[in-house]
């Protein structure tokens, strides 16, 4: 019976501890766990799955550069959020979209999407790997563009009940920190971020909500940056003194991101120093030139300063900076400043220039950012006496080498201030070299020791972190059901409607008002051939049903019977009777029994029905019911006795439960037994007792 089905199923699991599988939030770094590169972080909670970033490891090539996608089932991921366009955060996206079973949605900001395409197309062109090792080709990148959706800062999107929005991260143009809200549990993924405003970007914003978990980068660990103006001054001083002494300045830099910041500094410095204005600044990157229009367009993603400048002229239309396509166009005649990629001096234009200039002590090389282990840039920071040129010869390193970091990652001061204000109870560190990360973890633990419940975690790749969130579910009761707020102890019955992670309770009549669902009533009408007397049916029905009411149909005046207050039987004509009722499991059952009864009557019509004995008294009924209850309980529990108060004493494995048959109360020391007996009794009761008539 429908009405009892639910409590029955409910009782099976009542003893299960309240935290269930669905309350477990799992975070698995698939890349960038205790390392720098191939950022990719998997998170799942309540059956919703989010993947943050999808990068490659710049130090490896081919499949080994990918994050550990094998650890997860890509088809289960609902949303993939890309924080910014750097290769270690976005470059495995075409592979993931085109070559795996991933079918979810991908989001990134407008500038990220525009630069992503240029950058990856360039990456495919310059990467010198064999065709088999190619993770994707240009076609895959173009296809992926169609699947990427864009999100603006602060814009709230919802996919499958996962709500998310992003904040400015300050790292590069379009960099975002994502806040994800699943069923009220908020997770902040910072990606790479910087809390320091620079020439063109805003500092990372402070979210207005404190997240439950903060997945944060730890690139610089416990190091501290010099103040920005000091670095800028060193930078411009080195360049100024070099060029004024007739030297050349080489700035090996990655084409996008920080390079634009450096160009802004140089352009501004040149415009205030007339004496330098005849010295050319070259920016040698065709890719960067293509990206310039992106920088010139997405002014809104930058800081107030740029936006104000934009009111006069576009600050990214540089006055003193010239483009340089290749070394062939370069006329090396005198002092100049050249910014060229790649940043690590591995090969390409920056390396060609380095080879040309390294022997002259008038020249300078300024390394403006984080350099990866194993590159020439890293080597020359230690100022060796000699370096190996590209042609394999050794050459003395006479040029001055300066390391002035402009990479916009948070340092320890920023990280700890950020976390102090944010106060997340759980901190997961990613994107940091293992030692650096360990130190940061120690320092954060000591710093947050005061409140005691801040957890700092540093999972390695593929190591999962599990957290329990017993999220409170709030429902809103609305409509007719809410006309009166119930007192404690009153029952509330209605339809619980869940959409996303919001719950509403409403009366069935209101369902169509507050949701787009509608309800239906099905009226059933059936005609049965019957030629006997209508009175016979009534008589028979009365033997089975407690409530059979006679009446007459208002329209036709034919006699009717209302059986069990649900089904109306009507004598349509001499030969037919009809029944009609509103569809409902109980009514259907009643109607079936009426049908059976009517058919029986038709069959055995000639027989004279023997009047059954006077109906049994209430008392006898009671007694019989009691017997049945007893027998059923014995068959279930075995040892059932009757005690002096008329209570039934049930003992199972030494545990005793006392059952009051009148009201179903059970007393027992053992909770489990108590529940079982209570349930059993209730089911027996519903089976033994007649179905109460139900007023519709």
């Amino acid at each position: 019976m429908a009405s009892t089905a639910q409590p029955a199923s409910s009782l099976k699991r009542r003893d299960v501890p309240v935290t269930r599988e669905g309350d477990q939030l799992t975070i698995i770094p698939l890349g960038a766990g205790s390392e720098v590169g191939r950022s990719c972080c998997y998170m799942t909670f309540k059956g919703k799955t989010v993947l943050f970033d999808c990068g490659i490891h710049p130090a490896y090539s081919g499949m080994s550069a990918l994050p550990y996608f094998d650890e997860i089932d890509p088809s289960t991921i609902d949303v993939l959020l890309i924080t910014h366009f750097h290769l270690d955060h976005a470059a495995s996206l075409p592979y993931f979209l085109e070559k795996t079973t991933f079918r979810g949605k991908v989001y990134m900001t407008h500038p990220t999407k525009a630069i992503y395409k240029l950058l990856l197309t360039d990456y495919v062109k310059v990467s010198k790997v064999s065709i088999e090792d190619m993770l994707f080709d240009e076609q895959d990148i173009n296809n992926s563009m169609d699947r990427i959706e864009v999100i603006d800062y602060h814009q709230t999107k919802e996919v499958n009940g996962i709500k998310f929005w992003c904040y400015t991260a300050g790292h590069v143009l379009g960099a975002a920190m994502f806040m994800v809200d699943i069923a009220g549990v908020r997770v902040l993924y910072t990606g790479d971020y910087s809390r320091e405003e620079d020439r063109h970007l805003q500092a990372a914003e402070m979210p207005e909500f404190s997240p439950d978990i903060c997945i944060i980068e730890s690139t610089y660990g416990v190091q501290l940056h010099q103040p920005r103006h000091v670095r800028e001054k060193r930078f411009t001083d080195v360049i100024h003194s070099t060029v004024s002494q007739g030297g050349r300045v080489l700035i090996p830099a990655f084409a996008l991101g920080r390079a634009q910041e450096l160009l802004l500094i140089l352009d501004e410095y040149w415009s205030t120093h007339k004496e330098l204005q005849n010295i050319p600044i070259y920016y040698a990157s065709p890719l960067a030139r293509k990206c310039m229009s992106v920088y010139q367009t997405y002014i809104l993603a930058m800081n107030e300063r740029i936006r104000n400048q934009f009111a006069h002229s576009n600050p990214f239309q540089f006055k003193f900076i010239q483009n340089l396509n290749s070394i062939d166009d370069f006329n090396d005649t005198g002092p100049c400043v050249v910014m060229a990629s790649p940043g690590g001096l591995q090969s390409g234009l920056s390396r060609q220039l380095f080879d040309m200039w390294c022997a002259d002590k008038k020249n300078s090389c300024v390394i403006p950012g984080y350099v990866v282990e194993g590159t020439l840039a890293k080597t020359i920071i230690n100022e060796p006496k000699e370096v190996t040129l590209m042609n394999g010869l050794m050459a003395p390193l006479n040029m001055q080498v300066h390391y002035i970091s402009f990479s916009a990652h948070a340092d320890y001061a920023q990280t700890s201030a950020f976390l102090k204000e944010l106060r997340p109870p759980n901190i997961v560190l990613v994107h940091g070299e293992a030692n650096e990360m360990g130190r940061l973890k120690q320092k954060l633990i000591t710093e947050f020791a005061a409140d005691g419940n801040t957890k700092v975690l540093t999972p390695k790749n593929c190591q999962s972190v599990e957290m329990m969130f017993n999220s409170e579910k709030m429902a809103k009761t609305i409509g007719k059901l809410a006309e009166k707020t119930p007192e404690v102890g009153e029952t509330v019955s209605g339809i619980l409607v869940k959409k996303g992670f919001t719950y509403q309770i409403m009366a069935p009549e209101d369902l169509h008002v507050f949701s787009q669902l509608s309800t239906a009533n099905i009226t059933q009408r059936i005609t049965i051939p019957f030629s006997g007397a209508f009175g016979v049916i009534k008589h028979r029905l009365e033997q089975i049903y407690e409530s059979v009411e006679s009446g007459t149909d208002e329209d036709s005046g034919v006699p009717t019977l209302l059986v069990h207050k649900l089904v109306t039987v009507k004598q349509d004509s001499e030969k037919h009777i009809s029944m009609h009722w509103a569809a409902d499991p109980v009514s259907d059952m009643v109607s079936d029994s009426v049908v059976a009864l009517v058919l029986n009557i038709s069959r055995e019509l000639p027989k004279v029905v023997i009047e059954s004995e006077a109906s049994k008294t209430e008392e006898e009924n009671e007694k019989r019911a009691e017997k049945v209850v007893y027998a059923l309980l014995v068959s279930m529990f075995g040892d059932v006795k009757r005690d002096e108060n008329g209570k039934l004493v049930i003992s199972v494995d030494g545990n005793v439960a006392k059952l009051d048959k009148q009201n179903g109360d059970v007393e027992s020391e053992h909770e489990g037994l108590k529940e079982k007996v209570r349930t059993a009794f209730r089911r027996i009761q519903t089976a033994v007792k007649p179905i109460p008539p139900f007023a519709s």
């Binding site: 400048q309 009111a311 029952t491 309800t519 049965i528 209730r682």
Partner: protein, 743 residues
């Protein structure tokens, strides 16, 4: 009880006046839109002036005069001082629109309702939001969340969603559901079943032709005129629909490789396009996509030339040309002047792309049949000469003198006031002359005789009897280590990188075009000379609808899809309002209001609601059934208290079996779908008369009652299944049941 919501129109109901409405939500007063028309009649703002001081927040929806024109005036004259919210393009383009309006007016009249400074200061207080950003208000509005949503029509156009306690109030006017060249259409799915929808009836009676057909007609008309040697004038707005027209023309010119000149002439044309180029995030998908894939900015205009000065137009090569000039109403500005010049030539064409505002020249010309001749006032600002100049200069001198006198008086008072208090603490070398707290009514009677002989910047302390040079004792503090120093004095000051930016000129009006700037900065005495003349209208006049608003039919279907619980209709002629009201009453919802100006309608939802916590014990036992994006379940629970006793909590019923409830069939049955379904199950089905479905030989199925309630608000469906007792009957019933969820 629900959140209390009241709507009071301040302007723009039962007519096409500018829009301005007061919406109070639990006592927090929102002013949604703050419009004015091109006639700048202060009488329209009277209702606003009565409530301006009570307003807690202003929401702007579009960057045109009708939606934000009154903002500078209201902020400077009516005492409006609330925070303002809008999207970035509405802020920026709105600012440019107001500049253009001001300059157009100022050129032909002594316009003094507001100044450019008023415009700047009004727009400075705008908080910019992005689409679907949930902005949580604080303070008095605690608990209210506002969110702008895409509306189409104009760049940055906004449908505002105001949410409190889960109830939505949606303000959607002038929206467009169609995707256009540079804009996306409204997404009605973002606002399903709000408690209150405030929308307009402006277009309830109009119907639009097919877009492609309209575009073709538009271009054909223009090309034919040009080929006939005539000029085409498109009176447009400053930074709204003009953008769409520019794109259409650009595209067409590139396609046909036409050589005719196109000019976009407003006082702010070049800055408008510069800004628009950086607003790609706010535009339609196709524009964004073309930039992302090929870095092709649609507003990198190749054919359309930008002009900010009518002289440039006059200097343009002679020959047929198309001019988009601002001030669609033809009341003032470039379009007015050009119209007067061109109207008398039969070859020329004036093409209206929007309905003129009521009572303007444009509206008059759009009448059918158009007037043969119109009276216009030609005004011009001319420099003063001769006697007038002398008189003016004298007047200025007099004013200056008065000012000086006032200033000197003020200074005395200031000095007294300031020196009275900071004799001991003030830094010896800084003389405070800008203390604005000086009480203005203190008369400078004491020592006034010799004050004027002192030079500026030196003020004798009021305690001294006679003027003397200031003397300050340099008393330093010493401790065991020597003089006490302030470490901050020795810190290298963080060079402010903004300085360079700021001294280039950091205020928001920065990018005012040079001509405009010279015009403002031009303090040469001038006066306005006007003469009335009658213009013979011989040129052809055409109106083609490029307003980019949804038409009557789509408005109705959108309202039906949004399915608000209560609906407030504003803005639109009395006829249109009444029409839409009747339509909605009949088909969409029972509560439709169309208030008069200053009539407050209470649209508080009569909805009861309370919040409960769903206990974990209860939820672990609930089995949800999935229905589209919803999951439903029947629950029987007992109310209890949460652990900290501040909330109701629902706990599972413990001992007694829950009362039996009437079972509920959930699902939306479509007869046509059912027919297919039954057919697929091998049942013979066909539609019989009256929408009933004959299944097999005997059984009929039909839907009865409530057919009128269409749309989201469909009531409970009544379905009847009839038939004789037979096997088919039960089979079909089984199939029918399978279409529903039984709770």
């Amino acid at each position: 009880m629900g959140t209390s919501v009241q709507v009071t129109p301040l302007c723009g109901v039962y007519n096409e006046n500018p829009l301005s409405y007061l919406v109070s939500i639990d006592g927090f007063n929102f002013l949604v839109d703050c419009g004015w028309n091109d006639l700048f009649d202060p009488a329209l703002l009277e209702p606003l002036s009565r409530v301006a001081s009570k307003i807690d927040a202003v929401l702007l929806s579009y960057p045109d005069t009708l939606h934000l024109g009154a903002l500078p005036y209201a902020m400077s004259h009516l005492g409006l001082s609330a925070p303002i919210y809008s999207t970035e393009p509405v802020f920026r383009l709105g600012l440019l629109t107001m500049y253009d309006q001001y300059l157009s007016r100022k050129a032909v009249s002594d316009f003094d309702l507001f100044t450019l400074d008023d415009v700047d200061s009004a727009f400075l207080s705008i908080t910019r939001l992005t689409y679907s950003q949930n902005h949580h208000l604080s303070g008095k509005g605690e608990g209210i969340v506002i969110a702008p949503h895409v509306a189409g029509h104009l760049l940055g156009g906004t449908v505002w969603k105001i949410t409190k306690d889960g109830e939505d109030v949606v303000y959607a006017v002038d929206f467009n559901h169609r995707k256009e060249r540079h804009l996306n259409g409204i997404v009605a799915e973002s606002f399903v079943r709000p408690a209150v929808l405030i929308t307009e009836a402006y277009n309830a009676l109009s119907n639009q032709p097919h877009r492609a057909q309209r575009d073709r007609e538009f271009l054909e008309k223009i090309v034919r005129t040009l080929e006939g040697g005539g000029n085409v004038l498109l009176p447009v707005d400053t930074a709204g629909r003009a953008l769409e027209l520019i794109l259409i023309l650009e595209e067409f010119w590139a396609q046909r490789n036409l050589g005719y000149d196109i000019f976009f002439l407003t006082y702010v044309a070049s800055s408008t396009i510069d800004y628009v180029k950086s607003f790609l995030e706010w535009m339609g998908d196709s524009i964004a996509k073309s930039f992302e894939t090929s870095r092709n900015n649609a507003f990198q205009l190749k054919r359309v030339k930008l002009l900010i000065n009518k002289m440039d137009l006059d200097n343009a090569p002679i020959g047929p040309k198309v001019v988009l000039a601002s001030m669609a109403s033809l009341e003032a500005g470039f379009s007015h002047d050009i119209f007067v010049e061109w109207a008398s030539d039969v070859r020329n064409l004036v093409l209206f792309t929007e309905r003129g505002q009521f009572g303007t020249l444009a509206r008059m010309l759009q009448a059918n049949p158009p007037p043969k001749a119109v009276k216009v006032t030609m005004s011009k600002r001319v420099p003063l000469v001769g006697d007038e100049l002398v008189a003016y200069e004298e007047e200025q001198k007099r004013l200056k003198k008065e000012e000086e006198l006032k200033a000197s008086l003020l200074k005395q008072e200031e000095s007294r006031a300031s020196h009275g208090v900071d004799n001991t603490s003030s830094d010896p070398m800084v003389i405070d002359t800008t203390n604005s707290n000086a009480p203005p009514d203190v008369a400078g009677s004491h020592g006034g005789g010799y004050r004027d002989i002192l030079f500026d910047g030196f003020v004798p302390p009021s305690t001294s009897v006679a003027p003397m040079f200031p003397f300050y004792e340099n008393n330093t503090e010493w401790d065991d280590f020597g003089e006490v120093v302030n470490p901050d004095d020795y810190v290298v000051k963080d060079e402010d990188m903004n300085q360079t930016a700021l001294h280039v000129g950091g205020d928001i009006d920065g990018k005012l075009d040079e001509a405009a700037a010279s015009f403002i900065l031009d303090t040469k005495p001038s006066k306005v000379v006007s003469n009335e003349l009658t213009v013979q209208v011989k040129c052809s006049l055409i109106y083609i609808d490029f307003e980019g608003r949804s038409d009557g039919r789509s408005i109705k279907s959108i309202i039906a899809r949004v399915a608000p619980l209560k609906l407030v209709l504003v803005h639109g002629s009395a006829e249109a309002t009444e029409h839409l009201k009747q339509h909605c009453l009949k088909h969409i919802c029972a509560h439709v209001y169309a208030p008069q100006i200053e009539e407050t309608v209470d649209v508080t939802s009569d909805l009861c609601a309370y919040k409960v916590q769903l206990s974990e014990q209860l939820m672990s036992n609930v089995l949800f059934k999935k229905l589209g994006e919803y999951e439903v379940a029947w629950i029987d629970a007992v109310a209890g208290k949460t652990e900290n006793h501040d909330m109701l909590s629902l706990l599972p019923t413990v001992s007694t079996p829950p009362p039996r409830h009437k079972s509920v069939l959930v699902g939306d049955l479509k007869m046509a779908d059912l027919k297919q379904f039954l057919a697929s199950k091998g049942v013979q089905v066909e539609f019989a008369g009256g929408g009933s479905l004959r299944c097999g030989e005997y059984v009929t199925l039909r839907k009865v009652g409530v057919a009128g309630q269409k749309g989201g608000g469909s009531g409970i469906q009544q379905i009847v299944i009839e038939g004789p007792l037979c096997e088919d009957y039960y089979k079909i019933r089984e199939h029918l049941y399978s279409q529903f969820y039984l709770l």
